[in-house]
Assembly symmetry: C2
Homo-oligomer: 119 residues x 2
């Protein structure tokens, strides 16, 4: 795989276990054994996910042969956010359109609460 860095970052984030591992590492360094505990997964399965995160530069590991604690490397997450930020205006426009539509509905039916619930 010679994917570009941004593709590697997004691919690494496309799995809920890998996102949970990153969330766990926000609280501090952890060994593979510690990371495996909450997930009810085998060590090899967790190691496989860690390798994907390491290749994407999202996790770095210590050099101590026995422990090799994992820590979060947040740099690639910044690059991913920078890419996504360019689209902010588009989702804000969508939300504005939705808000205008709801206001329009409300002005057409000023006494109704618009969702059929009874209070």
């Amino acid at each position: 795989m010679s994917a570009d860095p941004l593709s590697q970052t997004f691919a690494a984030l496309s799995d809920p276990t890998r996102r949970a591992i990153l969330a766990r590492l926000c609280t501090g360094e952890a060994t593979v054994t510690e990371l495996a505990e909450p997930f009810d997964m085998s060590l090899p399965a967790v190691s496989k996910h860690l390798k994907v995160l390491e290749r994407a530069g999202l996790v770095a590991r210590g050099r101590e042969a026995q422990w090799r604690p994992c820590r979060l490397e947040a740099g690639p997450l910044k690059d991913a956010t920078d890419w996504l930020e360019r689209y902010r205006q588009f989702w804000e426009q969508s939300l504005d359109r939705l808000e205008n539509y709801l206001k329009q509905l409300q002005s057409q039916n000023p006494k109704g609460d618009g969702n059929g619930r009874k209070s």
Copy 2:
């Protein structure tokens, strides 16, 4: 595939052609033929990428049988950004640490430019 929405979004973004398609759709709706032009790709190859984007809810297509223009749906990009924003403090900390380190180097060697270049 029954991946969760966030995993589907990140997986859809993990390809440079798909990201380029989204960038193109920022400028307005486009047909598959129009989308294929700048990529020098076959229509089936572009269609395959579009299907991934559609499944992730990032692209919607018109109903007209012949044209079916594609348009950007930015909602899932907001959810992805919201997830990434939780990590902002970590990359900001890394940048602060780097800045402090560089300041420290500079104070130890106030006359040098720190990188060995000759001016």
